[in-house]
Symmetry: C2
Subunit: 195 residues, 2 copies
């Protein structure tokens, strides 16, 4: 079922304009990342509470050097957790917006010490839908799925699983208790994205 | 940090038009619900995989009669699960859209047997952000939070916790394994919404 014609066409028109502006800014962000000689830029996308920040807390100490751009609707709690690791962290509060867009990244382009990090992680707003659409200038999207969310997420939210280069299945230690079929989940992920 | 001026004003203008059209259709939906003598209409909102469908599977047999409108980006898996309970169920596939809006509900207004149910549940797309904004004509919003998502969700996604009349904390049986402080969670919920 599609949206009614009453609002549909207007949304589409404006969306095209917004996406074009976003893509232009994303390309500029990407140029900045390349000029700063960053080896890899990753856009982390997941449902709320899937464990993006905890994953970064585990990954950061393993890397030569990395930095994080934190996106949240409200609070700086995640940024504070990562700041404790003594890595460059900047917090973007989206003021209600359901995703980061390239313009928000562009606003920190001149202040963040990109040339001091080998890897950059951009932690998006917790939302499995909207952040999928907005390129930020990253090299790869990473989707993080928490096992208790259930095995049916890849087929119910296929877009992000198609666009992501990497899928992390998190909270595996809850497998014995949450009744989710890990094999079914893996099968469904490969069905949506064989690569 | 706000959106750049390049795209900002356009979004706001159109959003106002869309919200006005949505509110008008939501009011018409509400009139239909009242005319059908439904005792309560509930809009269920949560992250993906928080357990909205499972909750409905448990609630439905306890009620005199109920019906469900299922919103999903893709698949009819949830609707099929509820159809097995022999209650009226209709599936709305949003074709990528991150939320249900009032126009989508309006499209099933003439077909769904509203006058045969005492309670109507509308299961929104799994998304803790965008569905908050769009009234559908419901009496109450219910937010479902899965315990493994973590205690910080009410302060990080405050809008839905402010707007909801009911908050269901789900997957409590995972409390011993997921290290989430249930008391802290309850404290944060009441901080965001004392009612």
């Amino acid at each position: 079922m599609k949206k009614s014609n009453k609002t549909g066409p207007e949304i589409i028109e404006i969306n095209e304009k917004i996406m074009k502006a976003n893509d232009q800014l994303a390309a500029e962000n990407h140029q900045k990342f390349v000029a700063s000689k960053i080896k890899g830029v990753f856009n982390l996308i997941s449902s709320p509470g899937a464990g993006k920040t905890t994953l970064l807390e585990k990954i950061a100490p393993q890397l030569s050097s990395c930095g994080v751009i934190e996106g949240d609707i409200a609070t700086a709690r995640d940024a504070e957790r990562l700041f404790a690791l003594s890595i460059p962290v900047v917090q973007i509060n989206t003021m209600g917006a359901c995703h980061l867009d390239a313009s928000m990244i562009a606003q920190v382009r001149d202040d963040f010490p990109f040339d001091q990090v080998d890897y950059l992680f951009i932690e998006n707003v917790g939302n499995l839908v909207c952040p999928t659409v907005y390129d930020l200038g990253e090299d790869h999207k990473i989707v993080v799925l928490s096992l208790p969310e259930g095995a049916d997420k890849p087929v119910k939210y296929p877009a992000i699983f198609r666009k992501a280069s990497i899928c992390v299945i998190n909270k595996l230690d809850l497998e014995p208790y949450c009744g989710v079929d890990l094999q079914q989940l893996k099968t469904d992920i490969y069905e949506v994205n064989p690569n």
